[in-house]
Amino acid sequence: MSRGSTNVENNGGGSQGGPCGACKFLRRKCLRGCIFAPYFDSDQGTAHFAAVHKVFGASNASKLLLRIPAHKRLDAVVTLCYEALARVRDPVYGCVAHIFTLQQQVVNLQSELAYVQARLATFQRLPPPPPPPQPQSLHSLANVVASSSDLVPISNLMMHFDPLQTQQCAGQEMTSLFNPLDQELIDGEDLQILAREFVSRYLPGVRFRPPGPH
């Protein structure tokens, strides 16, 4: 979804007096003060609202937005559209597939970091090795320094989401993964621990972009 589909200028009703994308989809009169009108224009907004309606429902979406301060609603709509479109594309995993892929990437990078840090520690602890030296040329810093990440920048996240990276994963039956969360409110850290457990237990076939110099 691009922010071009939003219509922040209007406070009610669609652009040019017509219904907003949501009311157009719902085939109802777009009243002044329509909660959706600032965020769903009558063009692309209709398609986005269709996904939001299919996944969350108009009533739930409306309640969600009403509970959020007005200055945060645009972000909420963008993220709701992202999740809805991801769920429409992948009815089983939705955007959660992307989360687990990224979580596994973090784990892989941390493992590699631990390895190279251990290697660095050996260089720093031990004296120079005895002759003869290894017959290899000195590497330039440019060759061994990992290139900058080509991951999607956060600012472009909404335009480049790809939650389908686990298509090739094995479909194993899941036991109740979320039982540890019964007792307390989940915080961000618990969600990440949960994601890590999920991907290690149920997504063995997930493929990730290998880190390293490009």
Binding site: L102, P128, P131, V144, G188, P211
Partner: protein, 127 residues
């Protein structure tokens, strides 16, 4: 049987039929699970989404719906996108640290090799 109702039917205060779509994935000992998905997605949407999937994929779908719902309850504005953003930040930090450490390895290996060259040079001079 009233005592055998799943969490969804208990929440919705209705009889739990033998073919209840929710029962396998929303056990009565975890009422919070259905409460979260109902709050965010709505019971009818969840039921419809599960019905449209093959039975062998419904458990995974129910789990990921719960995960998304919990993310949204935790962070009503950003939901799962907040988690994705934080993970991207972690990845960026880890890659940066990795690059620095690799550079340090190169520097240290250069220092080691230069020391060897100097040592050989000294031996040649002594001889």
């Amino acid at each position: 049987m009233i005592s055998g109702r799943c969490a969804a039917c208990r929440y919705l205060r209705r009889r739990c039929p033998s073919d209840c779509i929710f029962a396998p994935y929303f056990p009565p000992n975890n009422p919070q699970r259905f409460a979260a998905v109902h709050r965010i997605f709505g019971a009818s949407n969840v039921g419809r989404m599960l019905q449209q999937l093959p039975p062998d994929l419904r458990a995974q779908a129910a789990d990921t719906l719960y995960y998304e719902a919990e993310c949204r309850v935790e962070d009503p504005v950003y939901g799962c996108v907040g988690v994705i953003s934080r993970l991207h930040e972690q990845i960026d930090e880890a890659e940066c640290e990795l690059a620095k450490t690799r550079a340090d390895i190169v520097i240290n290996s250069d220092i080691g090799q230069q020391a060897q060259v100097q040592q050989l040079h000294d031996e040649v001079e002594d001889n």
